[in-house]
C-alpha cells in the first residue's frame, strides 16, 4: 500500500498558503483537527477561506484562526458561540456564508462524489433561496445547490493507518468523512497511527484513497463546550 505518513502537522500543512480554501472537520469542538489548526495558527497565514460547520469558541478550534485574523471568509451553518466572529463581521473584515447544516453536508458530499449540483427542499421559502434555481418535482419545490470542494481538507480521526484509512469515534465523525473526500489534498490527523493491515477493512469509515497525508497528533485536549451530567 501507498504510505501517506508525514512527520507532523507542520510538514502536513507545508503547502497551505495565504488565500487557501480549507475544509475543516468537526462539529462544535468535537472531532476538530486540533493539531492542524494549531500549526496553521503558528504559520500565521492570511486571507484563508474556511468551510467548517461552526466557528469554534474564542480560544479554541476555528476561533483561534479568527482571533489571529487569518480568515477572509467563513462558510458555516452556525457561528453563535464566537464573539470574535461578530466583531470582525460587523467591522466588515470577514465575509460569512451561512448554509443549512444538511445542505452544507450534502454539498461537501457532492464535491467528493463528483455531483456538480443537486436539488434539496431545505431553504424553500427562506431568504437563503434568493437567487437560486427552484424546481418542482412530484408536486414539491426544491432548490438547486452546487458542490463544495477545496484545495485542502483537514480532518481528525480516532485511528488511522499508513495507507490513509480512517476510523472515527462517537459523534466526532460528523463532517470529517465528507470533507476528507472533498479536499484536493486531504490531511488526516489521528490519535493512533498503525501500519497498513492492522485495521479491519470492514470497519474503515474513510478509505485511504481520500487521504494524501496522515500523521499522529499528540496531546489532544478535546475540549468540551457544554458539560452536562445526570444528577
Amino acid at each position: 500500500m501507498i504510505n501517506k505518513e508525514v512527520r507532523d502537522a507542520e510538514d502536513a500543512i507545508r503547502d497551505i498558503t495565504d488565500g487557501s480554501v480549507l475544509l475543516l472537520g468537526g462539529f462544535g469542538l468535537c472531532g476538530i483537527p486540533e493539531a492542524g489548526i494549531q500549526a496553521l495558527v503558528r504559520k500565521n497565514l492570511k486571507g484563508l477561506t474556511c468551510i467548517s460547520n461552526n466557528a469554534g469558541v474564542d480560544d479554541f478550534g476555528v476561533g483561534l484562526l479568527l482571533k489571529k485574523r487569518m480568515l477572509k471568509k467563513l462558510i458555516a451553518s452556525y457561528v453563535g458561540e464566537n464573539k470574535e466572529f461578530e466583531d470582525q463581521y460587523r467591522a466588515g473584515e470577514l465575509e460569512l456564508e451561512l448554509i443549512p447544516q444538511g445542505t452544507l453536508a450534502e454539498r461537501i458530499r457532492a464535491g467528493g462524489a463528483g455531483i456538480p449540483a443537486f436539488f434539496t427542499p431545505a431553504g424553500i421559502g427562506s431568504e437563503l433561496a434568493e437567487g437560486k434555481e427552484i424546481r418542482e418535482f412530484d408536486g414539491r419545490l426544491y432548490l438547486l445547490e452546487r458542490w463544495i470542494k477545496a484545495d485542502f481538507a483537514l480532518v481528525k480521526a480516532w485511528k488511522g493507518d499508513t495507507a490513509g484509512n480512517l476510523i472515527y469515534k462517537g459523534t466526532a465523525r460528523n463532517f470529517n468523512p465528507l470533507m476528507a473526500a472533498a479536499g484536493k489534498t486531504t490531511i488526516a490527523e489521528v490519535e493512533q497511527l498503525v501500519p497498513a493491515g492492522e485495521l479491519d477493512p470492514n470497519q474503515i469509515h474513510t478509505p485511504g484513497i481520500y487521504v494524501q497525508r496522515i500523521f499522529e497528533g499528540a496531546g489532544y485536549e478535546k475540549r468540551i463546550e457544554n458539560i452536562t451530567v445526570s444528577p
Partner: protein, 220 residues
Amino acid sequence: MLSKEQIARRIAREIKDGQYINLGIGIPTLVANYIPDHLQVVLQSENGLLGIGPYPQSSDINPDLVNAGKETISMVKGSSLFDSADAFAMIRGGHIDMAILGALEVSENGDISNWKIASGLIKGVGGALDLVASDAKLLVAMLHCHKDGSSKLRKQCKFPVTGVRCVHKIFTDLGVFSILPEGGFKLLEHAPGVDPDEIRKKTEGRLVIKGEIPEMTGFQ
C-alpha cells in the same frame, strides 16, 4: 402559565410508540426527560447519532460523544453512529417521524422562523432548515410572547422565515394550538389559570376558538 419544563412534559404526551424523533435545542431537549417509559422511541442527534441516552454520570463524560447542542450525552442500547451527510440524508429522506423545535415565531399559515439571532445578527441556521423542510411532523415549543410582550404567534413572521407551511402544532406556556388548513391558530387546550381571552390578547395572528376548550393536562 406553564414553565418550560411543563411545556416539555406536555409535548412528551404527543410522542407515539416506535417513533424516531429529533429534538431541537432549548425546551425540546427537555422533552427527552419526560418520554413515558413504556414507549419505545429513538432520539436522533443530527451530528451523527441515533439513540441518544441520558446525560452521562460525571465519571462517564466522553468528549467524543455530544449532541447537537454540544452537550455531553450517552447512548442507549441499539444506537448507531454516522456522519453528517448520512444524518441529514435520514432527515431529508423522510425517515424521522417527528421533529420538536424551538422557534422565534410561527405565522398563522404555519411558517416558522427559528434562526439563531443575537444582537440583531443572524448567527446560524444549523439543522433547522433541513428539519422543517422534511416530512417529519413538526411540533414547535416556545414561550407565547417575546420578552417585550409582543406575540410569537403572528399573522406573518417579523423575522426571516426558515420554512413555510410546515408547522403542525405549537405548544406554549399559554396553550396548545394547531394550524388550520385555511390559516389561523386553532386553540386546542389552554394552560390552567389562563383565560382564552388572555390567549386572544397575546396572539397577534388569527386565533380560532370553537366550543369548550379543555384545560391542558399531562404536564404535572
